[in-house]
């Protein structure tokens, strides 16, 4: 029995040893894994990641991605992780809701026109003067009106990146055929509403299906043209808590009426969505196109690939009424106010460094048709000779931004009210006066 007992004991011992060995091995593995993990974290800490959201697609998107790639390559200690979301209501709704629950990016693109609304809904974090000073961002490097548009109640909420507007794209071949092309290769005889109407008619008569195309369905396209024409009459859209006060409503009716006449006369296509409105121009069916400078890359790229089939140009919107004026907006960078998960000082430093770098390198953004907000870039030789930007950059002097109201801006109630009333008027389903009054009443109703 003893022997047997001894064997049992020996067996127990051996098993114990094995178990210890296994335990030891496990411990070693754990230690190694932890060490590896630690090394990884240290590596990540040295490199600050900046989560970036934008709404830039098409030519804009391609150019922004190139800028981000270049930044990541030349700045080894900061890495931008970029996501592109759907432009407009979806983007801004997502920003607002995610900020409220402490989620969202470290930095994002933002339309300055929408800044009052963004601040009102608590989606944006203030950038203090000290923080900007520490990062080397100086307001003197921006046009005063542009810089102020990035403020609400004197507080800075964004840093402007560009000024973008609408321009008149034109088909040189079609204009030449209608004898509307000057010696300098620019359109002639488009100033003043009578001349403009006659020119569109002439273009249609000389073989173009339409004299001009713009997005006549939806909110954005109509609003931009309408707001330009309204301001060319010196109108005031919003003042002292009143929309289209006094005779401003008549000016709005006049602007909408002029647009409706184009559609009624068949010189501008009816009910045309954004992309089809561009296709009508690029396919040569419409002789001119009123659209944003952001479509410059579309034309430039098509021309480069030899797919456009005609010579194109772009000029400032002609003055149809009393004074030059063009709708404009500004892409800017802003930091969301993430509730309960505020941005850390180190991260903020990295974000501001990104913003500064982007502005200093915005010459490649100008390539997308925009006018850089950062003045030193606009004074470079490279920008002054960049076409077609140089031709239309004068528009910045008479640019009119959306009214500074929390109801205004991209994909805002003003856009929707404009779609409901002005777009309907342009397509002939409403009388201009009725449309202008409808716009006024709908917006005024939202104020109370």
């Amino acid at each position: 029995m003893k022997v047997a007992g001894g064997q049992v004991l020996l067996g127990d011992l051996r098993r114990d040893e094995k178990r210890r060995n296994r335990k030891m091995r496990k411990l070693m593995t754990k230690a190694l894994a932890t060490a590896a993990l630690l090394a990884l974290t240290v590596g990540a800490q040295a490199k600050e990641t900046v989560v970036w959201w934008d709404f830039l697609s098409g030519g804009d998107g391609v150019r922004m991605k190139a800028l981000i790639d270049e930044f990541n390559k030349t700045n080894p200690d900061i890495e931008i992780q970029a996501t592109t979301l759907e432009w407009g209501v979806p983007f801004y709704t997502k920003v607002q809701t995610s900020a409220a629950v402490g989620e969202g990016p470290d930095v994002m693109t933002y339309h300055l026109s929408r800044l009052p609304l963004g601040v009102d809904t608590g989606a944006l974090r203030e950038i203090t003067a000290d923080e900007m000073k520490a990062a080397g961002i100086d307001g003197a490097n921006y046009a005063p009106a542009n810089w102020q548009a990035a403020q609400v109640d004197g507080k800075q909420y964004a840093v402007p990146f560009d000024i973008h507007s609408i321009v008149l794209f034109y088909n040189k071949d079609a204009l030449k055929k209608a004898d509307l092309l000057g010696e300098d290769g620019k359109p002639k005889g488009f100033d003043g509403i009578e001349n403009f109407d006659a020119a569109l008619k002439k273009l249609k008569d000389s073989g173009s299906e339409y004299g001009m195309s713009f997005q006549t369905a939806g909110d954005g396209g109509v609003w931009r043209v309408f707001y330009s024409l309204f301001n060319q009459q010196g109108g005031e859209f919003y003042k002292d808590g009143k929309f289209l006060d006094g005779d401003n409503v008549d000016k709005a009716a006049k602007a909408a009426g002029a647009m409706a006449k184009w559609v009624a006369d068949g010189v501008v296509p009816k009910q045309t969505d954004y992309n089809p409105s561009i296709a009508l121009f690029t396919s040569g069916k419409a002789a001119t196109l009123m659209n944003g400078v952001w479509e410059v890359p579309t034309m430039a790229d098509l021309a480069k690939q030899g797919k456009l089939g005609f010579e194109w140009g772009a000029v400032q919107i002609p003055t149809l009424f009393d004074q030059p004026a063009t709708w404009a907006d500004s892409h800017a960078f802003a930091i969301p106010d993430r509730k309960g998960k505020e941005i850390s000082p180190e991260k903020l430093k990295a974000v501001l460094a990104v913003i500064k770098w982007m502005n200093e390198h915005s010459i490649s953004w100008a390539n997308a048709g925009h006018i850089p907000a950062y003045l030193p870039v606009t004074q470079t030789e490279a920008f002054k000779t960049m076409e077609p930007n140089a031709t239309y950059s004068s528009l910045a002097e008479t640019a009119v931004f959306d009214p500074a109201s929390k109801l205004a801006g991209v994909a805002s109630p003003v856009y929707e009210a404009s779609a409901n009333n002005i777009t309907t008027t342009v397509n002939g389903d409403m009388d201009p006066q009725e449309g202008a009054e409808g716009l006024r009443d709908e917006l005024q109703g939202l104020l109370d």
Binding site: A217, D273, A279, E416, A419
Partner: protein
Amino acid sequence: MHSKTRDNWIAAAFVAPFVIAYLVLFLYPTVRMVILTFTDAPLIGEGKWIGFKNYVRLFNDKAYFNAVWHTAYFVLLTVIPNTLLGLVFAMMVNRQKGYVQSLVLAAFFLPYILPVSVVFRIWEWIMDYQFGIAQYALDAFWGERVAVFRNKYWAMPMIAFVTIWWTIGFNVLLFIAGLRNISQDMYDASALDGADRWKQFRYITWPLIWPVTALVLTIQLILQLKIFDQLYLLTLGGNVNNTMVLVQYIYKQAFQLNKGGYGATVAFSLFVIIVVVSVLQYQALRAKPR
């Protein structure tokens, strides 16, 4: 050891997961939403208690009553047509045999598996004012092109049509299941007694399929009262005031105008409407044929 209390405890343990999920995920948010209707809260965050002000506003809000009317109009255009067409197609599919039946059934069911974004793109493309292929047909038969989703008179019926095209597959499926439950013997016996097709339908199929019909009608009613996605997408950029439905109005108030309290009030009114209408309808339907 078999006591009533112990049984009850075990039963409670089994239903607890559901009850807890129901309380936390449904009842609690519902109560919070009702409380929200008495405040002026923004979309996110707290608001002040303002009593019945939101309700007073609701009853004086023309846009709200327009939304109620548009929703009712849409329900009228979809619920009964979608149900009856579903029955008709189901009977047609049921008469086919083998592969042909599967093929036809698949053809009806395929649109149903598409997400709304794809449905929107398909019909936006077909109906595009400038380039849409259906515009050539409209031009030929109607005499002119129509921006159907943006036209005051065309928009609702067209969206109802798209909705039926999209969702009818599911109704067809339910009806086929119901039709297969009706014994062939009844048809054989009635044929011996000299009943023709119509009489067979009138006195056998219709009463026996009625429970399924009542179910489909109720599901449809609740579903269509909550219409939002396809209508929102397809009418974007038109005069949305012409087609604004209740859920869209909630979205507008809460998400676009940042009025969480008033948005909740509209939402609560829709909740009440759905409960009342569907209970009434189900009771009414239960009492009918047989």
